[in-house]
Symmetry: C2
Subunit: 199 residues, 2 copies
Amino acid sequence: MSFSPLIRQLIDALRILPGVGQKTAQRMSLQMLERDRSGGLRLAQALTRAMEEVGYCRQCRTLSEEELCPQCADPRRDDSLLCIVQSPVDVFAVEQTGFRGRYFVLKGHLSPLDGLGPEAIGIPELLGRVADGNFSEAILATNPTVEGEATAHYIAQLLIPKGLTLSRIAHGVPLGGELDLVDGGTLAHALAGRKTITL
Amino acid sequence: MSFSPLIRQLIDALRILPGVGQKTAQRMSLQMLERDRSGGLRLAQALTRAMEEVGYCRQCRTLSEEELCPQCADPRRDDSLLCIVQSPVDVFAVEQTGFRGRYFVLKGHLSPLDGLGPEAIGIPELLGRVADGNFSEAILATNPTVEGEATAHYIAQLLIPKGLTLSRIAHGVPLGGELDLVDGGTLAHALAGRKTITL
């Protein structure tokens, strides 16, 4: 035994954070207690408000405490383009590329073995969003995993008959990588999807 | 712009944690919001209570919300042995070795250039503790850095005249390391402090 009860409770509570083990939680606790109590209190307040007030955007289903998230509320974005992603963090990743269309956020991917069918991941809401909107193209930006591909395929089958152009983000070698570190499947995609160079 | 204001505030607040940058703070926020809101609220509560209620042990000056920390309150510990460390986290490290004497926690090390003299790091309180206690030996367990050594040396000069045996933790090669990865200074200490092997 060594820490007093409140410090022990704080260390235990910090361990719910991803990537934080016993040792890191100790370091975090003691650093806040010794050097930044006001920062610790601000964090407590931000946590409480976020956990209690953040819900989901009515339109795109990303995390938001407003009825409409910043992306859905912005009138200057392209209403003809819909980007379909698996989780709110992917919205942020796609935003950083400069994409300025609309989003729809699924609740993960289809996973029949875990009992996650179309209803569980929000396909009915996606169909409703497409029916309400005026999209000409839907970009399937689910993860490049087996489940993500299957989910993309399933959605394409539903949306193509509705007259939308469906596209899938490109697979290939990532920028800045080295060719011999890229797995065979990715390299096969990169070769099959090669582009002619024009001068 | 991408996250709603409350999520942005949570991400900013998480960045006060040591080792947590923008990307990690995002991952932490979204994981709590999507999977563990009750854990997030528990963390907020633990933070608030710890930041507001944890103070310092009256006797050894480690972090504690009780007037006496668990180590000082325990009547079964060895009252003749005092271990002097630089920070509360060091108490935990020494505890794990099985040490069962008493502690005194300095507020860091002497650092005249930063204006941290004997008063700033708690030397008067240390002298008071030694005068009140009944110690026969004081172990100087400040960090093995130039400042830690200087602080240990300074304390030794004050306490030896009071009739205490003063000792310094041993310097040498750490267990499980490789000799060619150990720096020259450490290896010189390890050689100078070599021990005769008896069968």
